[in-house]
């Protein structure tokens, strides 16, 4: 029962938003619903942490026939982090999203994104996973084009087309796989694959197609083009929400598939995944250095950070997977908060061009601190959560005899630091140049109302979580190790779901 709540709760809010359209305090109800979602996620998380795995057979149909929702330690952790991010962005949007967007269903579709994300984390059936991807895609497309400004439409068309292509790849792969194996339940497929001595070669095309689908979703290197082309166009809070949730779902699914199916053809997949990871890390970080727009720099960094997670997956040791899980959670929090700060800067100045901005530290020291925490957590400075994540991953890389990859990861960390310092100097330290001051005033429909308390609260809360995640890392890391152990042992998952 508790497993289905993260799906039913957003759905209930969506129905409420459909039925009660012109209602003044909608934003506060949305915040309350997001808070409720955090509570249910905590319940799910604590119960999963106690019992290891939970499952729910929808409609009481037993496992290989019906739709199964499965929550193991990894997915419960992801649901929890996603709910925290969602609470922060919803609270932030109380002041940051204009009245027009609110009354045309901003909250409705943001809860749609949440429902899709939660569903993908909990799905135990490949086709169900595909459906949740589509729910997420449609809701996020509407959020991205919502408001209909010119550059927004341009970005959202690119976003929609490339993500639809990814869905085609995914569903084509599902079709092939179903033709070969005759099942769609993940545990059932895994158990059928385990019976082979070596994975039969005719199954690999299906997995290649599915991998390409996930790689487009997760913005891995040869397929990342949609992300930097679209993420800087919608309202800042929407970008923050997407950067925290969307690409991470692709990566989550990749980890799930690798640990259930792909590991059986290890000698083929491991070099491929490690290669993609290294390329993502390096290319993402290098392209970011040439950008001079706040949100574009951060968008390119998403690609590089995702590369770290995939690197942990490619090592495929318990330490590597634990590092990947920790890094994924850390990255969701830090990245979202960096985008929230970018949104605040945008609301104040009406631009995000680094050459024009300046002197922000003097006027808004609190927000400078928030940015400092999240950006330098991304770069991996010691007391913050990013340090722990990178430390775990690089240590795992050295232990797994992939010294070259570990060194590349370290080297990429320096470049990340370079970009973050660039933003810090240009936006916060450099004195504001009055000559270059922007003539265009902030667009009216994006400007906040007077009181930024909600924005400060949400961004501050996220910053606090990042610091706490770094200081009290040890219980979280222990949990990640447990989650990685159960991922490394797919027999457990199969037995639990099928019996």
């Amino acid at each position: 029962m508790i497993v289905s709540l993260p799906i039913f709760l957003p759905l209930s809010f969506m129905i409420f938003a459909f039925l009660f359209r012109h209602y003044r305090g909608r934003e506060y109800i949305a915040v309350a619903a997001a808070f409720l979602n955090v509570i249910t996620s905590i319940l799910l998380f604590s119960q999963t942490a106690r019992e290891g795995m939970l499952k729910l057979q929808m409609g009481d149909w037993p496992a290989p026939y019906g739709i199964t929702l499965v929550s193991d330690r990894f997915s419960a952790f992801m649901v929890l982090i996603a709910s925290l991010i969602f609470l922060a962005t919803t609270a932030y949007s109380v002041r940051s999203v204009d009245w027009n967007r609110k009354s045309f269903g901003y909250y409705l579709f943001s809860f749609g994104v949440l429902m899709g994300v939660n569903g993908s984390f909990l799905a135990g059936d490949i086709f169900n996973l595909y459906v949740w991807f589509e729910v997420m895609l449609m809701a996020s497309f509407i959020l991205m084009s919502h408001g209909g400004e010119r550059q927004q439409l341009e970005g959202s068309i690119k976003y929609l087309i490339l993500n639809l292509i990814s869905s085609f790849f995914f569903v084509a792969g599902i079709g092939l796989l179903y033709g070969k194996i005759g099942s769609l339940n993940m545990a059932d497929i895994a158990s059928k694959l385990m019976k082979y001595e070596t994975m039969p070669p005719e199954i690999n095309p299906a997995f290649i197609l599915i991998f390409v689908g996930f790689a487009i979703k997760g913005a891995l290197v040869p397929f990342f083009f949609w992300l930097p082309a679209s993420y800087h166009t919608p309202p800042p809070v929407v970008t923050a929400l997407f950067s925290g949730l969307l690409t991470k779902v692709g990566i989550y699914s990749l980890i799930r598939f690798y640990s259930l199916f792909l590991y059986q053809h290890h000698e083929f997949w491991q070099p491929l995944i490690l290669g993609v990871a290294v390329l993502s890390m390096v290319i993402g970080v290098i392209t970011a250095t040439s950008q001079f727009e706040f949100r574009k720099i951060l968008s390119f960094h998403i690609i590089s950070q995702v590369g770290y997670v995939v690197m942990g997956l490619g090592l495929y040791t318990i330490a590597g997977l634990a590092g990947a899980i920790y890094f994924l959670a850390h990255n969701m929090l830090s990245k979202t908060n960096a985008f929230l700060v970018a949104g605040y800067v945008y609301h104040q100045k009406g631009t995000l061009n680094l050459k024009i901005l300046g002197g922000f530290y003097k006027k808004h020291p609190l927000w400078a601190i928030f940015f400092f925490i999240s950006a330098f957590s991304l770069a991996g400075l010691p007391p913050l959560s990013g340090f722990v994540g990178k430390f775990l991953l690089i240590k795992a890389g050295i232990e797994a005899d992939h010294l070259g990859i570990a060194l590349i990861a370290l080297f990429v960390g320096f470049f990340t630091l370079f970009s973050m310092v660039k933003i810090w100097i240009e936006v916060f330290w450099k004195p504001e140049d009055n000559m270059k001051k922007l003539k265009r005033i902030p667009q009216q429909n994006w400007s906040i109302q007077q009181n930024p308390l909600w924005m400060t609260l949400s961004s501050g809360g996220m910053a606090l979580l990042i610091v706490l995640g770094g200081i009290f890392a040890s219980p979280i890391v222990d949990y990640c190790y447990l989650a990685a152990e159960s991922l490394m042992n797919p027999q457990l998952y199969v037995d639990f779901v099928l019996n």
Binding site: S4, F8, I15, L19, L56, D60
Partner: protein, 137 residues
Amino acid sequence: MRNLILEKIATLFLYVMIGFALFLLLRGHNSPGGGFIAGILAASGFLMYAIVFGSEAVLKKIVVNPRYIIGTGLLLSLISAIIPIFWGLPPMTAIWGTLGKIHVGTPLLFDTGVFVLVTGMIISIITNIMDVLKWNS
């Protein structure tokens, strides 16, 4: 220019389609049919009506904003999904009872929800497209 024969046919077509849709909805559980196809048929009746009379006439015909129809459909489906929880069963389990001689159960409620949702959705889409294309003027 009014076309009396077309208007009569469109009106008749609407009611025939709704009636046929209800028939398909009710036979759906064991025979071909069901909520989705019934919703599409009912909406096709409204589509014909909208082509002849314009989108505003359709909105007047269905009285409420299509948005509320969509919401109601979702609500019905959600209710049917969570009813089994009170029996201690997983969500979306079919629960059947008898009403006189007729078997009724939560799948029927779910299908009704889908029917209402699909109808409302398509009406909403076609009226919006007609507004954008300035069909009425």
